[in-house]
């Protein structure tokens, strides 16, 4: 018998009696989900800036020190910031090393925990951009902010190849004496623009 069949047979033999599969509970509803989202972004070490349109976003973006001094930038959001790196021309994601800022579109924002859903299809040819950049800028539309993870999963579809990530603030670690250090392996800052 193959290992696969042996494992499945052993699990069938040991299976407990059937029990029902419940639905997720209804989650908390915030009076102002955008305000809650902004507060949570700050709580997880990020910065949240609300802008009415792309024009205002670009004004705020150029004010960010990390963006102002960046030498290599990539924007995957049409009309927000600029790219001086042609992702399609890169043969290998390792060439992204040294990327200063990546501007990435978020499909959803989650008010309860500041998570921003970024599907792989929004990341261009090399998905490493979201983690290898020294600084990350996320752009989410205000009407795409949901209350809880339950609502987020109701909206998420996994299309093949189906990569996707919830990003919540900058990369961080507390592995040395529980002291919080921002910028463990990935971005050293995370700025979330809420548009509209």
């Amino acid at each position: 018998m193959s290992s696969r069949d042996a494992i499945l047979a052993a699990l069938r033999k040991a299976a407990p009696p059937p029990s029902p599969l419940p639905e997720p509970p209804a989650g908390i509803v915030y009076p102002d989900p955008v305000a809650q989202f902004a507060a949570m972004v700050a709580a997880v070490g990020g910065a949240c800036i609300r802008v009415p349109d792309l024009g205002a976003l670009n004004v705020e973006l150029t004010k960010l020190p990390a963006y102002a001094r960046a030498r290599r930038t990539v924007s995957l959001v049409a009309g927000a910031g600029s790219s001086n790196l042609d992702l399609a021309a890169l043969g290998d994601p390792h060439e992204l090393e040294g990327l200063d800022v990546a501007v990435v579109p978020g499909e959803l924002g989650v008010a309860e925990n500041a998570a921003v859903w970024v599907p792989g299809s929004s990341l261009g040819p090399h998905r490493a951009v979201f983690v290898i950049a020294e600084h990350l800028v996320l752009v989410v539309r205000a009407d795409r902010i949901v209350h809880t993870m339950h609502q987020a999963y109701e909206r998420i579809r996994f299309e093949r190849p189906g990569f996707g990530v919830f990003l919540c603030g900058p990369s961080k670690t507390a592995d040395i004496e529980q002291a919080l250090v921002i910028g463990a392996h990935g971005p050293r800052s995370c700025t979330v623009f809420v548009l509209g």
Binding site: R4, K13, A15, F163, S171, T173, D175
Partner: protein
């Protein structure tokens, strides 16, 4: 003294450090409490999570087949391993066939359980743990002491000295920001050079054939976004039926683990990176045997948040290494003796049965009750030392009859106050090693009640 009690005594001998360890973990517990309190439906979430796990375990084989089918349709290669040895051989073969000699890993308790690192290193593969805490203990030549915070037992000065020795930081430097920055540079070079990345799995979804990996550092994302090969290793119990079940577990996991609303990176893998490969290795290694045990199967619901460790008064004061098993603390004290009751028979006794672990467990495993049940199992199997069994037998006989109970009380009240100290606090009284007996009352409760005017 033997087993956990002996190793805990060694840890507790350094009183200052034991206190520091206790406080560090209690702070994490306090953060968890604040997060739980912010979610009005917290208890409902726990109930739902427990029910989803119970349901999944009742149909685990079906869900694994569904998961495999969908993963294959997504272009994933799926492998099955009965035990740790087979798991290690599968991972090695994937790497060796592709000429991989440099592997970066993110945290996986399963690979710790299977001792994958030494297996690969012996066969000429460089294995670099990339979670900062795991890298620290790897450089120190130690296993993790906690499943979420692997280096929680080490002080910054010790990490500074280790880094000075191993990665060339300045002598005497111990600032966490400086050390973490040095580790970032050191590990970035490893990420750039790696030919493959290996991760654990937090959740696997049957209906979509994908897996979810949670980190704060982004190390799993670095390790799977640069090299073309990704191997994800998972125990059979990681399954959930539907994508929407993830919402329930992700709301609980980070809040319970570190008191964060969610991890910084919650990454969903449903197929290989462009031009690359994705492998899932599904491992049993004793889990089907645990599933067959009615009393203890709920331990398979564990999502490895570590909340039971952070709250446990024994873990906090005895350290992760005192358990001698990959997963320490209350949950480890249930998992380890199921694997080997003789080697780990002392662990179910490493608990005050206070129930705090059960109160914080996000999937409502009745940990303290199961530990209590396991003690009885160990006594029945005669794994407990004869002295303990004998003492319990005698205690049972004395307390089981009212005349012998009364007589014993009378004798103790009369004799104990007259005995010299060395006789009362001899080696036969481990209870009195760190505690004083209360003064013996002159009269029993029964006597007092009789004298009370009605």
């Amino acid at each position: 003294m033997s087993g956990h009690a002996a190793s805990a005594a060694r840890f507790a001998a350094d009183e200052e450090r034991a206190h520091w360890h206790d406080q560090a973990l209690w702070a994490v517990r306090a953060k968890r409490d604040a997060q739980a309190a912010a979610i009005p439906e917290w208890e409902e979430l726990r109930e739902t999570a427990a029910a989803i796990k119970a349901h999944t375990l009742s149909r685990l084989a079906d869900y694994l087949e569904e998961f495999e089918r969908n993963a294959r349709a997504n272009g994933v290669e799926v492998h099955w391993a009965r035990d740790g040895e087979e798991h290690n051989a599968i991972v090695h073969r994937i790497l060796a066939d592709r000429g991989v000699t440099r592997l970066v890993k993110s945290k996986s308790m399963l690979t710790e359980e299977c001792h994958l690192n030494p297996y690969l290193i012996e066969r000429g593969i460089e294995v670099v743990d990339t979670d900062l805490g795991e890298r620290i203990v790897q450089l120190a030549g130690l296993p993790p002491s906690h499943i979420v915070m692997p280096a929680i037992h080490m002080k910054r000065e010790e990490i500074g000295a280790l880094f000075h020795d191993k990665i060339g930081t300045e002598e005497g430097a111990s600032d966490p920001a400086y050390l973490a920055e040095a580790a970032r540079g050191h590990l970035r070079a490893k990420f750039m050079a790696a030919q493959a990345g290996l991760t654990g799995v937090n959740f696997a979804v049957a209906e979509s054939g994908g897996v979810v990996v949670c980190t704060n550092e982004g190390n799993a994302d670095m390790g799977t976004s640069l090299p073309p090969i990704h191997i994800a290793c998972m125990g059979v119990e990681k399954l959930v039926p539907r994508s929407r079940d993830l919402g329930v577990f992700l709301r609980l996991l980070a809040r319970s683990a570190t008191g964060q609303p969610v991890t910084s990176y919650t990454t969903h893998f449903h197929g290989p990176i462009r031009g690359g490969e994705l492998h899932f290795v599904i491992v049993d290694n004793g889990r089907s045997a645990i599933l067959g045990q009615e009393t203890f199967r709920r331990s398979l619901s564990c999502i490895r948040c570590g909340a039971c460790m952070n709250t446990c008064p024994v873990f906090r004061r005895s350290g992760g290494y005192s358990y001698g098993y990959t997963v320490p603390g209350p949950i480890g004290s249930l998992l380890a003796p199921q694997r080997d009751p003789r080697a780990y028979g002392s662990l179910p006794f490493a608990s005050s049965l206070c129930g705090s672990c059960s109160d914080v467990c996000p999937v409502k495993i009745d940990l303290h009750h199961e530990l209590y049940m396991f003690r009885q199992e160990l006594v029945a199997r005669r794994v407990v030392p004869w002295r303990k069994r004998f003492a319990m037998k005698v205690t049972g006989l004395v307390l089981g009859r009212s005349w012998s109970y009364r007589l014993a009380g009378k004798l103790m009240r009369a004799v104990v106050p007259r005995l010299p100290r060395f006789l009362v606090y001899g080696p036969w009284n481990p209870w009195g090693r760190a505690r004083e007996l209360p003064p013996m009352p002159r009269k029993s409760f029964r006597d007092l009640l009789r004298e009370e005017p009605s």
